[in-house]
């Protein structure tokens, strides 16, 4: 079958990117193979593991359950877009500090999920933090340090906002 290809324009991490893809190209594969952004990891490819989570117009979604052509014209933030001016984001720093990763495979998905979660809920309860990361699988850490990192990231983010306000 000779597949029709579609031209898509995405704003990825603030940069306008273009690709020509078949209709069945998953956003995860478009990011990795067409745009060379391999920070987004592909685990289960049916929406269970959460490793491929990216931000679509600011909201976390599974890039393996989204076609690239569907999100033509939209804004995508991947793990590569979380750091600012060479500085790790509060969520990234908290994951490092709290040892919230070991092999790192699941980490890009956790970072994107938690970044959006703390933007919407800057001071989460234990239960809310647990619910927020419940859709992402980690086979190394046992999750306890990831939960610690969510709360540490909330603190770091608050400090950062306080500094910016000064």
């Amino acid at each position: 079958m000779n597949e029709t290809r579609h031209h898509v324009t995405l704003t990825v991490n603030g940069v306008l990117r273009e690709a020509t893809v078949p209709g069945r190209r998953l956003l995860s594969d478009c990011l990795r193979h067409d745009l060379g952004l391999t920070g987004t990891h592909v685990g289960c490819e049916h929406g269970v593991c959460g490793a491929c989570t990216v931000l679509l117009d600011g909201e976390p979604v599974r890039s393996c359950l989204t076609f690239a052509v569907t999100v033509d014209g939209h804004e995508i933030t991947t793990v590569e877009g979380l750091a600012r001016d060479g500085e790790l984001s509060p969520v990234q720093r908290a994951f490092t500090e709290c040892h919230a990763l070991q092999c790192g495979f699941c980490t890009p998905g956790f970072l994107c999920t938690v970044t959006a979660f703390l933007r919407d809920n800057p001071v989460p309860t234990e239960e809310e933090a647990l619910e927020a990361v419940a859709g992402n699988l980690c086979r190394c850490t046992g999750y306890q340090n990831i939960l610690k990192a969510v709360h540490r990231a909330a603190e770091l983010q608050a400090e950062l906002h306080a500094e910016e306000d000064r």
Binding site: M1, T4, P22, R24, R62, T70, T113, G135
Partner: protein, 291 residues
């Protein structure tokens, strides 16, 4: 784990979408949120010849809430309906059930109407529509029709949607005054499909006796199983009802099947336990108490 090839259509208007669906016939499949469809494609359990992506069709994302109930458009995401204060006020069962649908990230993309059309007997949204006696509005090039929930779910993963039709919206009716609802389920892991689940709606009369009590059970039959348990409650004040005894009526009237996740007996047991919990909470809510 890649989708099979298909012809992609991205119509910009409803008319265009219906034209494409009409021409595609049985080989056409609508893509809205894709959170059930794309896993099926990735695992090659489905291979439609044509995908009709309605994400660019304007006017389908509406959530209209009012005294009669809540009408949810084809592109209204689970998360949007869950967060809608109007929807929660008009029909609280929507938010109660949506919190049990997969995970927040999936709900950002998945749609309520998509969950209905997918018609998974283990899913929450079909049970909610069936319990409330709601309906789904279907459009085709020939016109529109409104299909009641009782006729919409025809089998596991099967609905009354015909080739060439697009589910435009779903209507979730409000309940009378002095009504309450609840949804309880048991899943092996948080966010998984339920091994068993029960949605309940209880309406009280002016003397706070049970005027109507119904449950919809998930994962215990090929479609959501709606049971009227008003008679089992008897003409007693809601506060003195033994809900475990009412739950026996639920256990007796369902015929679950066993599979790799649970035996039929375990499902029957769970449905009873969950029915008692859901009915008790729904009755408390009907009396205006926090459950």
């Amino acid at each position: 784990m890649k989708p099979p090839p298909f012809v992609y259509h991205g119509p910009a208007t409803l008319g265009e979408a219906l034209d494409v669906l009409a021409e595609a016939g049985p080989g056409g499949k609508v893509l809205a949120g894709g959170q059930s469809l794309i896993p099926l494609l990735n695992m090659r359990l489905a291979a439609p010849a044509h995908i009709v992506d309605v994400n660019r069709v304007p006017g389908l994302e509406g959530i209209e809430a009012g005294p009669p109930g809540v009408r949810v458009g084809a592109l209204a995401r689970h998360a949007a309906v869950e967060r809608s204060p109007g929807a929660a006020a008009a029909q609280p069962l929507l938010r109660q059930a949506l919190r049990l649908v997969a995970h927040p990230v999936i709900r950002n993309r998945g749609t309520v109407v998509g969950s209905l059309v997918h018609a998974d007997p283990a899913a929450e949204m079909p049970a909610v529509l069936a319990l409330l006696g709601g309906s789904v509005r279907l459009a085709s090039r020939g016109g529109e029709r409104e299909v009641p929930a009782a006729e919409f779910f025809t089998g596991p993963m099967e609905s009354a949607l015909r080739p060439g039709e697009l589910a435009l919206s779903a209507f979730f009716p409000a309940l009378p005054p002095r009504s309450g609802t609840a949804f309880h389920e048991v899943a092996r892991r948080h966010g998984d499909y339920a091994v068993a689940g029960v949605a309940a709606a209880v309406t009280l009369d002016e003397d706070l006796r049970v005027a109507a009590a119904r449950v919809a059970c998930v994962s215990v039959g090929p479609v959501p199983v709606v049971l009227d348990v008003t008679a089992a409650c008897g003409p007693r004040p809601a506060a003195s009802i033994k809900w475990e005894a009412v739950a026996e009526a639920v256990r007796d009237r369902i015929d679950p099947e066993g599979d790799i996740h649970a035996t039929a007996d375990y499902r029957r047991h769970l449905a009873g336990v969950l029915a008692a919990r859901a009915l008790r909470d729904a009755a408390s809510a009907a009396r205006g108490e926090e459950s």
